[in-house]
């Protein structure tokens, strides 16, 4: 271990779903849970990085948490906001400047698909006016092409959802806590072919917070269970296929997820074969299938057999989205990436209850966001 290793010494979550309280209050709840978990108090936080996409500025939590003068930096990076907040905190400690701080995120979205503003995304108005500015269409077209190229069936899409709801039923912080049978999934309303209602996650509400510490501080507090082995954020390279792209290059290239994954593995000195469980961005079930390959856990097309064999179930070879992922938890943008890491912390500590995967040593998470970035974090003993 190098002297600047970074540890996750506290984790808190406000259950995802639909709630009567504000997004901000859900964030504050998660922060207090994380502090309690770490047995620390807010004045001990030397920094905070936080994000919310639709529920106000994250630093509006300060009056409720305490006006201690600590630096609080707001993060906005689309669906990868949580992952980006985590990375910011990681570097703050890695730099040697700080010993302990917090990363947090929360959100509360209106119901229904996200609606995007073309101009905010550097696109002409007609792109939205003609009905093409839909994240759902992008996900559908990416998996449609992938299915054609690599022989993935529609049944595989259904199997991913079935597994997500099975896991969600075992997870106190999940939103969808009822299993949904395969036939119901496969006959649910088609929203954007080939993706059906039960194959998409929904915008939701929730909050999450993690407390990070230097090795020195983690040792002092006796909390060295979860070390960050590798962490990386990468944006889209030339030739990748991203949301809100009126055109694509003929020359196809890598994805931001492939770059972030390779960087995080390199940093950790680990490979996909070393990973015990993985939380992969599953905005819809196709994304989980493609992200399995983009993160190096299989070759393109192998997912069909993996899903038939149950490899990604809780008792499988590589359990994926052990808490039900975005499909069962919903997606409060600011909190979603931190939920993945919260889940990994619970699994590595062995405190994940009914969904615990035995002997989880090394856990992987990947969150993808518009307009084309990916954040990967590998934690473990």
């Amino acid at each position: 271990m190098s002297k600047n290793d970074v540890y996750i010494i506290g984790a808190g979550i406000h259950p995802f779903g639909r709630h009567d309280i504000s997004g901000l209050d859900q964030g504050v709840f998660a922060v207090r849970e994380a502090l309690k978990d770490a047995d620390l108090d807010w004045p001990e936080m030397q920094f905070a990085f936080g994000g919310s996409s639709a529920a106000g500025a994250a630093d509006a939590m300060l009056p409720r948490l305490g006006l201690t003068g600590t630096q609080f930096i707001n993060i906005a990076n689309g669906c990868a906001t949580g992952g980006s907040a985590l990375l910011s905190g990681y570097w703050a400690i890695k730099s040697g400047e700080f010993d302990v701080g917090i990363v947090t995120g929360f959100d509360k979205h209106p119901r229904g698909a996200f609606n995007a503003d073309p101009e905010e995304n550097g696109l002409p108005m007609w792109y939205g006016e003609t009905g093409m500015m839909m994240t759902t269409q992008f996900f559908a077209m990416k998996i449609r092409r992938y299915m054609d190229q690599f022989g993935i069936s529609e049944e595989s899409l259904g199997r991913v959802s079935e597994k997500a709801f099975e896991n969600g039923a075992r997870t106190p912080h999940a939103w969808r806590r009822q299993p949904v049978d395969f036939e119901t999934i496969m006959s649910s309303q088609m929203l954007s072919d080939p993706l059906r209602k039960f194959m998409f996650c929904s915008p939701a509400e929730g909050g999450a917070a993690l407390i990070l510490a230097s090795e020195k501080k983690a040792r002092e507090l006796g909390r060295t269970q979860c070390r960050i082995h590798g962490a990386a954020v990468r944006t889209r390279p030339e030739g990748s296929f991203e949301v809100f792209s009126p055109s694509l290059s003929i020359e196809r290239g890598q994805s931001p997820t492939e770059l972030a994954s390779a960087a995080a593995f390199d940093m950790a000195g680990l490979g996909p074969e070393d990973i015990d469980i993985a939380q992969l961005q599953d905005t819809e079930s196709g994304a989980e299938i493609m992200h399995l390959a983009e993160n190096g856990f299989c070759k393109d097309g192998e997912q069909e057999q993996m899903l038939l064999d149950g490899d990604t179930k809780l008792d499988g070879r590589l359990p994926v989205n052990t808490d039900g992922g975005c499909l069962a938890c919903g997606e409060p943008i600011g909190a979603s990436g931190l939920r993945q890491v919260y889940e990994n912390v619970m699994q590595v500590r062995g405190t994940a209850g009914e969904r615990q995967v035995d002997d989880t040593q090394i856990a992987y998470s990947q969150v993808y966001g518009a307009p084309g970035l990916s954040a990967v974090c590998i934690i473990g003993a």
């Binding site: 007609w126 088609m190 055109s247």
Partner: protein
């Protein structure tokens, strides 16, 4: 009828012409022809009017207005197809797909440029966008 933007698509002798931008530096073709200051770095070029369907989906629920200008009321909304069409070796363009049969689209099928009414102006003038249709 009115077209979305003359820098995107125009009619010449009744036939649609689609425009893109060609990077002065690298020769790479993009769609649409960039707006604003970025435009200085591109030449306006005519794109091919035939290509192959690269991927597609069907929008089966009404997009939100704004920004969508087409009909969104449940009794007026009709599902529509969108896709990406690869235009020769130049560029892959995202587009509405003009077809009455949403069930027979196939990756790789031949497509040609057309225009498609998608909404109406405040004064009732039909708004048309570029689109591709199966050959």
């Amino acid at each position: 009828m009115r077209l979305i933007s003359e820098n995107v698509v125009t009619l010449e002798n009744g036939s649609p012409v689609l425009f893109g931008g060609k990077s002065k530096e690298t020769g790479k073709v993009v769609f649409p022809y960039p707006e604003g200051a970025e435009r200085d770095r591109y030449d306006k070029v005519t794109l091919k009017s035939v290509g192959e369907l690269w991927s597609y989906t069907v929008q089966r629920f009404p997009p939100k207005n704004p920004p969508y200008l087409g009909p969104t009321k449940p009794d007026e909304f009709q599902p529509f197809a969108v896709g990406y069409v690869a235009l020769g070796g130049e560029v892959i363009v995202e587009t509405r797909i003009a077809t009455s049969d949403l069930s027979t689209l196939k990756v790789g099928q031949a497509m040609q440029l057309t225009t498609l009414p998608f909404a109406e102006d405040e004064d009732g003038t039909p708004l048309h966008t570029y689109a591709f249709e199966p050959v």
